[in-house]
């Protein structure tokens, strides 16, 4: 393996942890906000039932890339995406792809907990309801219950499902948002710094949760905490100034990074 920067990408394409099938992949992704280019030619594979962390300093494009994966960038008028991003061998920027269906399949949890100003039950039931996923009230009840269970929130809220979701604590709210996302039964779950607004205890709970969810979902998580990336993910990708510098098995990235910039970031010299 070469230590030169231009070799990094080639090296990154041969990951050690490529056991499953590729769920999503980005090929030559460029993103522009008006005149400004935010992402440069990013190639990245995301494997099924794995957790992949996107790390890098602020403004490096990791969140931009994440938001490309379920086309949340569409809501911004000036944003333009080139290259292609595949979900199960289908280009999600293809004209025939329906963005609503895409987002149902690729769910998202946001940086700041954003429960709807509705009851806890209604928050979780929202996705299934709009997608018409259940036929009976009982089915919906069961789906809500199991989602809350999986999100590790059931025990705390089972007695007050009819109370507003905004009344929960920050950590609980974020788990509610996760429950809300998994109730829609997505295939991929995107998490945009899900713990940045939470205290350490709440963070620990959510990290544990992410590890459990891996069994059923493919998870992409953006984080600015390297410890978190190390704890929860199997693969890690390092972004810097809009470029994907290096990706690989988490262990390798943190213990033996190929690229100098990655090393600098890991050791705290840039950031």
């Amino acid at each position: 393996m070469s230590v030169e920067a231009n070799m990094a990408a080639t090296a990154a394409k041969a990951p050690a942890v490529n056991t499953g099938k590729v769920k999503m992949s980005g090929n030559g992704v460029n993103v522009f906000y008006g005149e400004k280019q935010a992402l440069f030619d990013v190639d990245l594979n995301i494997y099924e039932n794995q957790v992949i962390s996107l790390i890098g300093p602020s403004g490096c494009g990791k969140s931009t890339f994440l938001r490309c994966l379920n086309r949340m960038n569409d809501t911004i008028d000036v944003c333009k995406v080139t290259g292609n991003i595949m979900l199960d061998e289908q280009d999600i920027y293809d004209k025939n792809i329906d963005v609503v269906e895409l987002r149902a399949r690729v769910g998202m949890v946001f940086q700041k907990p954003n429960p709807f100003p509705k009851s806890i039950y209604e928050n979780v039931a929202y996705g299934p309801r709009i997608h018409g996923m259940t036929r009976t009230k009982d089915e919906l009840d069961e789906l809500v219950t199991s989602s809350l269970r999986r999100a590790g929130l059931w025990e705390e809220v089972k007695d007050r499902l009819d109370q507003p979701g905004t009344g929960l604590s920050g950590g609980q709210q974020q788990r509610l948002c996760i429950a809300r996302a998994i109730a829609t039964q997505p295939e991929v779950l995107l998490m945009d710094e899900p713990c940045s607004a939470l205290d350490p205890i709440a963070t620990a709970i959510i990290e544990e949760l992410i590890d459990e969810l891996r069994a059923n979902f493919t998870i992409v998580i953006v984080t600015h905490s390297m410890q978190q990336a190390a704890r929860v993910s199997q693969k890690t990708a390092f972004f810097h100034l809009g470029k994907l510098i290096e990706e690989g098995p988490t262990d390798q990235i943190f213990t033996n990074p190929i690229n100098k910039k990655t090393q600098d970031y890991i050791t705290g010299r840039i950031g």
Binding site: E101, H131, T134, E139, I182, E187, N216
Partner: protein, 610 residues
């Protein structure tokens, strides 16, 4: 379905299954319906605005032009009893001058009522208008200079084509003129009047239908009454209670008399119908042309003959403009027929007046031009003499007072509340109070003005300065709120910079903050003034509905304002007033648009992003 541990295959099927696709299609239909609803909501607003504006413009535009009559008036010293003083000139009988001038044009008109109708072709304000010109320019005395006076409102409407539509048929063949005891008769060698006759029959047919409808209505009530009578006749013998019995008998009697009346009326209608029917059935039979039918005029060799009775080849006529005595026959090129579509009974401008008006136009006495009266005069009961200047000046005077009061007060209050006020209960109270005051219905300010300014302080009714005070109180909250927003938009760094070099807080505000906030404050003020300009209700309360003929010259002269003038004119039934109302609205909207455009320009020009 709900088994989350079901694995990948299950996941894929949930959102990409056939069922999900169908649901999705349905959801997208909902989406497009929702979007369509939103678009049509905007559409409704836009459509209404267009409808409103186009109605006003189409109705108002004709009022901006007007027809003036310039006759050779006999303005001699003798006629006016002029003794060299301005006073005699002012008191002279201009009515007579105007009357004689128009009579001179139609010397054959002799009857009293005809002459009065003829005089009515000119506005009743014509004499006032004439006097004003003579007073302004006494040199015209004794000269033959033709002076202009306004035509009457209906003549004006007629000339603008708003009284009736018409068409002309060229003459065919020769007409023989027969003069007899019963007036004049035209005899044609072809069926030139067949068209008029058949249209007369059409009208008869319509009349017949109306009468039949009436008759069948009466027949219904007749049948009902007969039924009632039958019921009563059966009930009365069986009735034991004497009181009730006598009441029923009275009722029976009444019903029976009703029957006779109804039967008589039905019979009468039947006769009318039969009459009409027989006339309609016989297309060759001549008919009288009544006021309910279109009017037919024959133009012949400078004369105008109104057709009274037609057959397909003959017409009995009345001479509206007399035909030369010597004429006994007319060939095809000499005559034509003109049909006025709107029946005479349905308009307020008779055929005779139409003929005279046309003749005045023919002789070149009528000029159509910019309606200067509308822009230079005050209110009047005569639509042709009514103008908006009085109301516009009243509005201007009122707004000046409003501006002088509300601008300094509003800005001062905004400066205090935004820059100096400590946060305590009092300032919170003032703030809440200002916000609520902004939402108080305007008419309540009118009540305040009436009770306090007029009743308590006994200030003048209908005076612009009182109106200005009321409107100032009303616009004050708007100006305060806008000024505070403008002051708030000035970044604190400016204040800190000024305070940092030792300026006092007041100096900081006056020298630095206020000038930067001024564009915003002025924008808010203009918008407040525009509001005040359009306001009507509070001014009604303080008597600015007065009928003010003179143009107000000062702040305490009785006056009215544009919106109130519109309100008053909208109530007048004359069609010419309807037009003037719309025209006044256009003037008001013109002012408002100018003010708002000014505000937009100010905002654009001085807009600063910090």
């Amino acid at each position: 379905m709900t088994d989350l541990a079901g694995g990948n295959v299950e996941h894929v099927s949930i959102h990409t299954s056939e069922g999900a696709r169908q649901r999705l299609a349905k959801r997208y239909r909902g989406e497009s319906i929702f979007k369509w609803l939103g678009r049509s909501a905007i559409g409704v607003s836009v459509a209404f605005l267009l409808l409103l504006l186009s109605t006003v413009v189409f109705q108002g535009l004709p009022a901006f032009t007007f027809n003036f009559v310039n006759l050779p008036f006999e303005l001699t010293k003798e006629k006016l009893d002029y003794d060299g003083t301005a006073e005699s000139l002012r008191k002279a009988n201009y009515d007579a001058v105007v009357r004689d001038a128009i009579r001179e044009q139609f010397p054959t008109v002799t009857g009293r009522s005809e002459r009065r109708t003829l005089g009515g072709l000119l506005s009743s304000g014509a004499s006032v208008y004439l006097r004003q010109q003579v007073l302004n320019e006494p040199d015209v005395l004794g000269t033959n200079k033709r002076l202009e006076v306004p035509i009457s409102d209906f003549a004006d409407l007629y000339l603008k084509g708003q009284i009736t539509s018409d068409y002309t048929i060229e003459g065919r063949g020769a007409l023989r003129v027969e003069r007899g005891e019963n007036g004049m008769r035209l005899i044609a060698d072809q069926d030139v009047f067949a068209d008029a006759l058949s249209r007369a029959k059409d009208t008869l047919r319509a009349q017949e239908a109306t009468l039949r409808a009436q008759q069948s209505g009466l027949q219904l009530s007749l049948n009902k009454t007969r039924g009632d009578i039958k019921a009563l006749q059966e009930r009365i013998p069986a009735e034991t209670n004497a009181n009730v019995k006598s009441r029923l008998e009275a009722e029976l009697e009444r019903s029976e008399s009703d029957i006779t009346v109804l039967e008589a009326r039905i019979k009468q209608l039947e006769e009318q119908i039969t009459n009409i029917e027989s006339r309609v059935a016989n297309p060759g039979l001549g008919e009288d042309l009544t006021g309910e039918m279109m009017s037919v005029l024959v133009y012949a060799d400078g004369a105008v003959l109104k057709v009274q009775k037609v057959t397909s080849t003959t017409a009995n006529v009345e001479q509206y403009l007399p035909l030369d005595e010597a004429v006994t026959s007319l060939d095809a090129s000499q005559w034509s027929i003109r049909v006025l579509e709107v029946p005479e009974a349905n308009r307020k401008f008779t055929d005779q007046e139409i003929v005279w008006t046309d003749e005045l136009v023919e002789r070149g006495f009528v000029r159509s031009g910019l309606n200067t009266i509308f822009f230079t005069r005050g209110a009047s009961r005569e639509p042709e003499m009514a103008g908006v200047l009085g109301a516009a000046v009243g509005s201007a005077l009122t707004l000046i007072i409003t501006l002088l009061l509300s601008f300094p007060l509003g800005v001062a209050a905004a400066i205090y509340l935004e820059e100096f006020a400590p946060k305590n209960r009092w300032t919170t109270l003032i703030e809440v109070n200002i916000n609520n005051l902004a939402a108080v219905p305007s008419i309540v300010f009118g009540l305040l003005g009436l009770a306090v300014f007029l009743n308590y302080f006994e200030l003048d009714r209908s005076a612009p300065y009182v109106g200005g005070m009321v409107l100032a109180l009303m616009t004050l909250p708007t100006i305060i709120i806008a000024s505070r927003a403008a002051l708030r938009a000035v970044p604190p760094s400016i204040r800190e910079a000024a305070l940092g070099i030792g300026a006092s807080r007041l100096q900081t505000v006056v020298h630095h903050v206020l000038p930067l906030a001024m564009p915003g404050i002025l924008t808010g003020t203009i918008i407040g003034m525009a509001q005040a300009l359009g306001e009507t209700a509070p001014l009604l309360m303080i008597g600015m509905v007065a009928f003010v003929v003179d143009i107000p010259m000062g702040f305490s002269d009785p006056s009215t304002v544009l919106p109130v003038q519109i309100f008053m004119w909208a109530d007048f039934p004359e069609p010419a007033f309807q037009q003037r109302t719309s025209a006044a609205i256009m003037v008001l909207l013109g002012f408002l648009i100018t003010m708002n455009a000014l505000a937009v320009v100010l905002r654009k020009r001085f807009e600063r992003r910090w």
